[in-house]
């Protein structure tokens, strides 16, 4: 990571004492354990506000989150990360940053490569990736599962889909850290990350124009946008930026949280080993209870959400994770019930911005957990190590030290 002294660090945030009127999703207390905070906020109001981030609301109930997600008239997706500053919008990433009517055609182009059938074709490669990773550390009887396993699965899967070398994954991880974590408070890191990533993809774009293949970059270059015209290079680059940013640390987080839960819950682990057919149902519950992704909207016109007035010019922290812990929607919302039967969780969003990669994420989670449990059925958190969680928009374990084998 660059620690350049010229970096334009934004002021440090003062610690939060009044969560209801001054919440801050980058506060270390939130990063470590957000669940009790959400409970406090939800008990206070369906929509709370902070003066931080130049003014930001947060819906705290499933209902309020849903109302905002469905309302593209008053809430724009042009900014999808809540940050300290609101610079000019330069690097778009359609369709996640698109509003109607531009949104639909931009999304239609991306949907066919991510259907469940398309994911079935990718599954054998992901299974092999998981086993290659496990081979590297299984003899050690311990590992940091975030650094050695969960982190690499989505990176390699996306690289495989894009037809680029899987070893370039380390570059992707660096850019994502700069854009999604450091970039919340440091504009230079964000711009450097975006610039390097764009340069990398421009080179691949030019190469695919000369030698088209079956990979996703070539498919996007062949795709027709609205009006039957090919997509512009800028549009293709924006979508590639999106796939990388949205497709990697999100799933890394989701697999990591699932393993974290299983490491500290032997009963659930044993049940999934005895009944592997239940893994997909358990994955849905992990997605609900440990949803990694919080999105954002910008209020364009004054309106009312769940009876609370919201004013233009503010951002909205659209916390699908908090919605998924709302006891009005989910009985025993704070319990992880791996055979939960009714589970309309919103981990992949609600409405037109449903995550385009949801089928990919689900497949990766299922395969990653299946392969881990087959080879490392007995494991636990390392009491001498520390689990750390990512800060900001995507939540998941970034250090996950576990013991197994002779250490189990």
């Amino acid at each position: 990571m660059s620690d350049s002294p010229s970096a334009s660090y934004l002021p440090e945030h003062p610690p939060v004492s009044d969560w209801v009127h001054d919440f801050d999703h980058t506060d270390p207390v939130w990063t470590d354990d957000p669940f009790p905070i959400w409970e406090t906020l939800r008990a206070a109001s369906p929509v709370v506000h902070t003066e931080r981030f130049l003014g930001c609301y947060m819906p705290t109930t499933y209902q309020a989150v849903k109302e905002i997600a469905y309302d593209t008239e008053h809430f724009s997706s042009r900014r999808v990360i809540v940050r300290d500053i609101r610079p000019e919008i330069t690097a778009r990433a359609p369709p996640i940053t698109s509003d109607p009517p531009e949104h639909k055609p931009a999304k239609q182009v991306l949907l066919p490569p991510f259907t469940p059938d398309a994911m079935k074709r990718l599954e054998p490669r992901v299974r092999a990736i998981c086993n290659e990773l496990i081979d590297e550390f299984i003899a050690d009887d311990h590992c940091d599962a975030a650094a050695r396993y969960t982190k690499h699965i989505p990176v390699r899967a996306i690289a495989h889909m894009l037809g680029i070398p899987e070893k370039d994954g380390d570059l992707f991880i660096k850019w994502i850290h700069q854009i999604l974590e450091l970039g919340i408070k440091n504009e230079d890191e964000l711009m450097n990350g975006v610039r390097e990533m764009t340069g990398y993809f421009v080179a691949h774009l030019e190469q695919r124009k000369l030698e088209p293949g079956d990979d996703l970059i070539s498919q996007l270059l062949r795709a027709k946008g609205p009006g039957g015209q090919p997509l512009t290079d800028e549009h293709v680059l924006g979508s590639l930026r999106l796939l990388l940013i949205a497709g990697i640390d999100t799933t890394w987080s989701a697999i990591g949280s699932s393993l974290w839960h299983l490491a500290k819950t032997p009963a659930d682990r044993e049940r999934l080993i005895a009944e592997p057919a239940m893994i997909p149902t358990a994955i849905e519950e992990f997605l609900r209870a440990y949803s990694p992704v919080t999105m954002a909207r910008e209020v364009m016109k004054e309106t009312t959400i769940s009876g609370c007035p919201v004013k233009a010019g503010n951002m909205v922290l659209l916390s699908f994770p908090a919605a998924n812990r709302d006891p009005a929607m989910f009985p025993d919302a704070d319990k992880v019930v791996i055979d939960r039967k009714e589970n309309r969780h919103a981990a992949f969003g609600l409405g037109i911005h449903r995550c385009v990669g949801s089928n990919l994420a689900r497949m990766e989670m299922q395969v990653a957990i299946e392969e881990w449990l087959k080879r490392i059925p007995d494991f636990r958190l390392d009491p001498a190590g520390k689990v750390t969680w990512s800060e900001g928009t995507v939540r998941g374990p970034r250090q996950l030290p576990v013991l197994f084998g002779n250490n189990a």
Partner: protein, 68 residues
Amino acid sequence: MSKLRIRVDQDKCQGHARCKSLAPELFELDEYGNAHEVGDGTVPAGLEDKAWLAQTNCPEIAIEVTEE
């Protein structure tokens, strides 16, 4: 047991594909991954539980189940 019929509201479906995963006999996906019911939506005997399971797991509440 009375006969069930299912229908996916195309305006509401966003392609989460939960129904296809839970009840592959009853739902199909188009090239964009959006769901619709198989045939005329009549639920064959023995698959009633799966129809309800799909209905209660659709995040967009896009699936209607009617009893005939």
